[in-house]
Amino acid sequence: MELSTIHGLRDLLANREISAEELTNQALEKIEKIDDKIKAFVTVTKDEAIQVAREIDQKRRKGESLGPLSGIPMALKDNMCTEGIKTTCSSKILYNFIPPYSAKVYEKLLGAGSILLGKTNMDEFAMGSSTENSGFFPTRNPWDLNCVPGGSSGGSAAAVASGEAVFALGSDTGGSIRQPASFCGVVGLKPTYGAVSRYGLIAYASSLDQIGPFTRDVTDCALVMNAIAGHDSFDSTSAAVDYPDYTSFLSNDIKGMRIGIPQEYFGEGIEPEVEAKIREAINKLEELGAVVEECSLPHTQYALPAYYIIAPAECSSNLARYDGVRYGLRAEDADDIISMFSRTRNQGFGIEVKRRIMLGTYALSSGYYDAYYLKALKVRNLVKQDFDLAFEKFDCLLTPTAPSVAFEFGSKADTLAMYKQDVCTIPINLAGIPALSLPYGLVNNKPVGLQLVGKAFGEGTLLRVAYTLEQNSEQTRLEPSLEGVK
């Protein structure tokens, strides 16, 4: 089956050229065929998926009204709660956790008629940039099985890139949607903080986490956003604003649009071939009528260290509840309550999760709070101010999504080298603003991603720029050969 999009399949489904059940079966067959190589899924919900597909087909036959994503098979990162379906965060500590409730985004997608194929692999508790930190197994990049798919939402990115799922949701705390989207050659959007409900998303760093879509093109991205964005009274940080029809921004026109190129995101640390591709894209945008200008975000260099205080601090508290008392793993060999806590957590968490819990616990400790946590919050404000100032002048900003293309397994064993993967994406989470990663060409036959950054609730602008580029450049439409898995 050729890789397909939501908008393409929607017409086929509407014209009854294919049924939801057939489409779902095709996807499940593909998963069965290639996922032992890709390893994108932690759980495949085959029976449930076919059941839901049949119900949708029946509704269609009866002429009942159908949601906008009806019959479209999709995947969810395994940190979004799905009632009755195992939700593990790719962690041993939640290896057996079956939530009794569903995340708001899952409810919304079900309401829109889409079909859950399964739950995708990730870096444990969304901590990592390669999916190598999964507590179960690593996921492979469909473009090159020796390379990582990026992370932490590597499973979702790989599932969409390989054609296992039509679209998928991921979560992005410091780049966890955009960097894997870049590595796998798909479109990934991190929406504005508060635009998509976090209710039911298992928290890593609450003030930074945001759910967003992986899709094969920009139109699909807008379609999924229409289904998942909106105010939710169950999430106090959800924004009560008017949410637009995101497809209304899909116009092939960026004449006069002002695009800033922050110089701090180029040069040192960015692979020259990647930078060259991004420069190509910039030229293309100018060609298409955009007004492009260099700019500066002077506090960029402090974003990474500030992130590695704030995110671990929040994580140390968010992950404290996994103590073996109520659900998930409980160590068998404990003598008393304290040893039950510590053995459970020692056995259940992987090394990166432990590292961040320790970092965060230290940063919040009495006597260190002001020097670390409070200072990091101040830096966060400065980073935000940089963007506020830039957006007085520009409609959006353009940077590379990641400093490199997908790397080989084990090649970023040095923790700091791995952390630097997110140098271009982290400042955006600190500022709470939206950013979209769009594929733009290949380097060594591996996709490059460009990042478009917008002001809060300015997703529309990003979609418009991305859509225009997509309509005018072949480089944005990439498809892996899947040689190694056939």
């Binding site: 956790f97 009794p100 999430d235 940080t237 309550i337």
Partner: protein, 482 residues
């Protein structure tokens, strides 16, 4: 105590009586089978988020205003992190550096002296679940059972300044605080049920010293009596310690009610580092001044104001006014009765003497007794129009207290109507005079006192139902005729 002075501050937890919990829709209702008043949110399941119950904020602001605090314009929640199985999230959502209310005070009256006790702060937080250990403690038990019905029940913690100087003052402060909270109707404030809890910070210093001594925190104070006893004990323990040349160790101690002693629980070195930080899942609170003003205007008359009014306008003695206003239910009972029958002194007396006597004897709250303001008012009218005597009224009152019956019905049923008919009384007067010649002689000889004996005999004959005024008049007339 002599050369030492105690310095005491109280930390009081008050459970707010909202219908639902602080961050979810579960009921706060007391009791229920274990883990039946729970949902994914109060169970702290992975992925859930809190949403603040606005009633909790409203009640907290009301409580803050009632204890003379200023209400924050900007406030927020913080996480207090520690591991314990009664916490579902391994942190308690509380308030750290920006509490909802600060800088308040209460005036208390101890031995006729008014003392102003500062209140540092009032903040909102959630309650934890309840553990039942299969053994003595969590570490000595093979297993413990956890019930999370209480998890997420809203609390306010009210922290006083270290302004209290004795166990008596601490008790008076706590009583005043309880009365105020009860008046504004945001909590049941029942210590026995845990809706009012108190910890005491206690230190001693030489009289005249301005420095604070090392303090201990005493927990597990489950009644007003234990608050007073524990503080008295702890003050003496610290004095003894210092007298013996020992240092006071900063520690948490627990009150053992049976043994009447405080015992060391953990030292400062073992104290938790709670690693407070702002709760990222809740947005900061911006409190509108208009709302605060509205809540302030909606507060009922508070005990102190009410007491002053009862003294000034109703002419009640200060002590009586103090007792009546010390509890909202008692004050409401007084108000209601007064609105039906404007005999302030009379009503106050009946409450102070008969009602409190019966309540104390039964160890009851007024709400648990069957007596109604309507009943008392009616009974007082019956005394006034001579239907019953004051003596008989006591009998009627007790019957109303136990059964809640209408006083007229009681009087009728038991045949307690006062006898005022002169003919009927005259016959008895004549009979008593005839039967007691010695007393009559005494009276004639100028012993006025003997008339009392004769009245007593007449009342005895009429089972106390004769109208005493009529009896006196007729008896004197008869004696003078002799």
């Amino acid at each position: 105590m002599g050369q030492y002075e105690a310095v005491i501050g109280l930390e009081v937890h008050v459970e707010l009586k909202t219908k639902s919990k602080i961050f979810c829709g579960c009921p706060t209702e007391f009791g229920g089978e274990p883990n039946t008043h729970v949902c994914p949110i109060c169970l702290g399941l992975p992925g859930v988020l809190p949403v603040l119950n606005k009633k909790v904020l409203e009640y907290a602001i009301k409580a803050g205003l009632a204890i003379n605090c200023s209400i924050a314009e900007f406030s927020k929640f913080d996480r207090k992190n520690y591991f314990y199985p009664d916490l579902t999230k391994a942190f308690q959502t509380s308030q750290f550096d920006l509490p909802i209310a600060e800088h308040g005070h209460l005036d208390i009256n101890v031995n006729g002296e008014i003392r102003r006790i500062g209140i540092t702060r009032l903040h909102m937080e959630e309650d934890a679940g309840k553990l039942t250990h299969q053994g003595e403690t969590i570490s000595s038990s093979l297993s413990s059972l956890a019930d999370y019905n209480r998890a997420g029940v809203p609390l306010v913690e009210i922290v006083s300044e270290p302004d209290l100087r004795s166990a008596e003052e601490a008790k008076a402060y706590l009583e005043m605080l309880k009365a105020i909270i009860e008046y504004i109707d945001v909590s049941d404030v029942k210590m026995e049920q845990g809706s009012l809890r108190c910890d005491a910070n206690i230190s001693i210093r030489p009289v005249g010293s301005k420095e604070l001594g090392t303090r201990t925190e005493v927990k597990n104070l489950n009644s007003f009596r234990s608050v007073q006893r524990a503080i008295e004990y702890e003050i003496q323990r610290q004095i003894d310690q210092v007298e013996e040349g020992e240092r006071i160790i900063q520690e948490t101690r627990t009150w053992d009610e049976n043994k009447g002693v405080t015992l060391s629980l953990r030292s400062k070195e073992e104290a938790h580092d709670y690693r407070y930080f702002p709760e990222p899942d809740l947005t900061p609170l911006v409190i509108s001044r208009d709302w605060v003003e509205e809540l302030k205007n909606g507060l009922p008359e508070l005990p102190e104001a009410k007491k002053l009014r009862l003294i000034a306008d109703h002419g009640l003695p200060e002590y009586d006014a103090g007792v009546i206003t010390s509890s909202r239910t008692l004050a409401d009972f007084y108000d209601k009765t007064v609105s039906l029958h404007a005999d302030y002194k009379g009503i106050s007396n009946w409450i102070m003497v008969e009602l409190l006597k019966l309540l104390n004897a039964e160890n009851m709250e007024i709400s648990e007794s069957k007596i109604s303001p309507e009943g008392l008012a009616k009974m007082l009218k019956m005394i006034e129009n001579n239907t019953i005597s004051g003596k008989i009224a006591k009998q009627v009152f007790e019957e109303m207290f136990n059964t809640g019956k209408d006083p007229e019905a009681i009087v009728k049923e038991k045949g307690l109507v006062q006898i005022s008919d002169e003919g009927q009384i005259n016959a008895i007067v004549e009979q008593v005079i005839a039967n007691n010649p010695k007393s009559v002689e005494d009276f004639k000889a100028g012993k006025e006192k003997s008339i009392g004996f004769l009245v007593g005999q007449i009342m005895k004959e009429t089972k106390g139902q004769a109208n005493p005024g009529v009896v006196n008049k007729l008896l004197k007339d008869k004696l003078n005729e002799l």
